[in-house]
């Protein structure tokens, strides 16, 4: 752990605004979004964290401020340690973060995914398009205010939509989601125990 402790102290000496972040495994720190790129570059060039293992985002929920956090997971392939860097986006309505694709080319697709799922604009990204959903999809599915079943919208192909009459519809839940509730006997915890007498066509009957 001496190597990782060194990283934390070196970071704090170089960037006084960096604060510690709660972590169960590897050292982690919060950085201001304006300094994120400088910190990442320092970790890559000075501290030998040469591999961007993951880049993702967190939505803390509607009404929280700051709402969106971007998280970078770095790996040192020479010292075999990880470090986690997190930065919150200043604007909750239009979250933005500088792009790390100049530091690691692999950040390109990670940032496209974070943009696709959370709507975080990575400024300076060479090609910020959706990567999983189709171009023109109006929502950001991993935001907390987006229901898992989805929202009504049009199919990507207008011609096919007109021909088939199909659209993007919320998935029927039938009392789901299909996960068992924790604890209790299985016949009560499993989804089959829940009321499945209603569908998206048939309204849920009143309990009264």
């Amino acid at each position: 752990m001496t190597a990782t402790a060194d990283v934390a102290t070196a970071l704090r000496e170089k960037f006084p605004q960096v604060t510690g972040r709660e972590s169960l495994d590897w050292p982690a720190c919060n950085v201001p979004s304006g300094q994120a790129l400088a910190v990442l570059q320092f970790l890559r060039d000075e501290a030998a964290f040469d591999l961007l293992a993951d880049l993702t985002a967190i939505d803390s929920g509607v009404g929280t401020a700051p709402r969106f956090t971007v998280v970078w997971h770095l790996l040192s392939t020479t010292r075999h340690t990880y470090v986690r860097v997190a930065a919150t986006c200043a604007d909750d309505a239009k979250p933005a973060m500088p792009s790390a694709s100049g530091l690691w080319p692999g950040a390109n697709w990670h940032e496209r995914e974070a943009y696709d799922m959370f709507g975080i604009e990575f400024t300076g990204h060479p090609d910020l398009r959706r990567i999983l959903m189709w171009d023109g999809y109006p929502y950001f599915p991993l935001r907390k205010d987006f229901p898992l079943a989805g929202l009504d919208t049009a199919l990507a192909d207008a011609e096919v939509a007109a021909e088939t009459g199909a659209g993007v519809k919320p998935a029927p839940y039938m009392g789901g989601p299909f996960v068992a509730a924790p604890g209790g006997p299985l016949d009560e915890a499993e989804p089959r125990a829940r009321d499945e007498s209603w569908t998206e066509q048939q309204e849920k009957p009143n309990d009264a």
Binding site: L132, M133, W134, Y139, P141, F146, P147, L148, A149, G150, L151, L155, A156, D157, E159, V160, A161, E163, T164, A166, V168, K169, P170, A171, P172, Y173, M174, G176, P177, F178
Partner: protein, 175 residues
């Protein structure tokens, strides 16, 4: 040692004998057309997820879909008769699936293989089409996640039975 080949004289009257029956076979046009269609259904493998692995197993030696005349997997929709939708159809993929179906020449059939293609399966999600029958006319649904290869063979046989009942000749001359 004397090798003696005991030749059985070949039976010349096993099959169609033109000396007896002339050059004419009498049958129903429906029966002829459906016989042709059922025994060489070239599948369009719409492999979208893990079901496609089972589809490959169906085509390989152990299960051998060639026994039912459907071994010629065509990767061009223009040469195929039966689309086997094997896997999860996402909303992003759905228009392409429909376009491939539109490019297949009629008559054409669709098998929805597995839970995902039939109903969306376990993916009750914003991203997954809840059953390929929302965009395609499905002839046979196969249950299973994924279905056993035998189940797909059964689906193919069921589809052949369905085609045998079709009034093919009437449809042939319908504009």
């Amino acid at each position: 040692m004397i090798l003696r080949a005991t030749m059985v004289s070949p039976n010349t009257e096993l099959a169609f004998d033109s000396k007896i029956e002339g050059d004419v076979v009498v049958s129903r046009l429906d029966a002829v057309i459906n016989w042709i269609r059922t025994n060489s259904m070239w599948p369009m493998p719409m492999g979208l997820a893990c079901c496609a692995i089972e589809l490959m197993a169906v085509a390989a030696a152990r299960f051998d879909i060639a026994r039912f005349g459907a071994e010629v997997m065509r990767f061009s929709p223009r040469q195929s008769d039966c689309m086997i939708v094997s896997g999860t159809v996402t909303y992003k993929m759905a228009p392409q699936v429909r376009r491939l179906y539109d490019q297949m020449p009629a008559p054409k059939w669709v098998i929805a293989m597995g839970a995902c293609a039939s109903t969306g399966g376990m993916y009750r999600s914003y991203a997954v089409l809840q059953g390929v029958d929302r965009i395609l006319p499905v002839d046979v649904y196969v249950s299973g996640c994924p279905p056993r290869p035998e189940a797909l063979l059964d689906a193919l046989i069921k589809l052949q039975e369905k085609i045998r009942r079709e009034p093919a000749a009437k449809r042939l001359f319908r504009a």
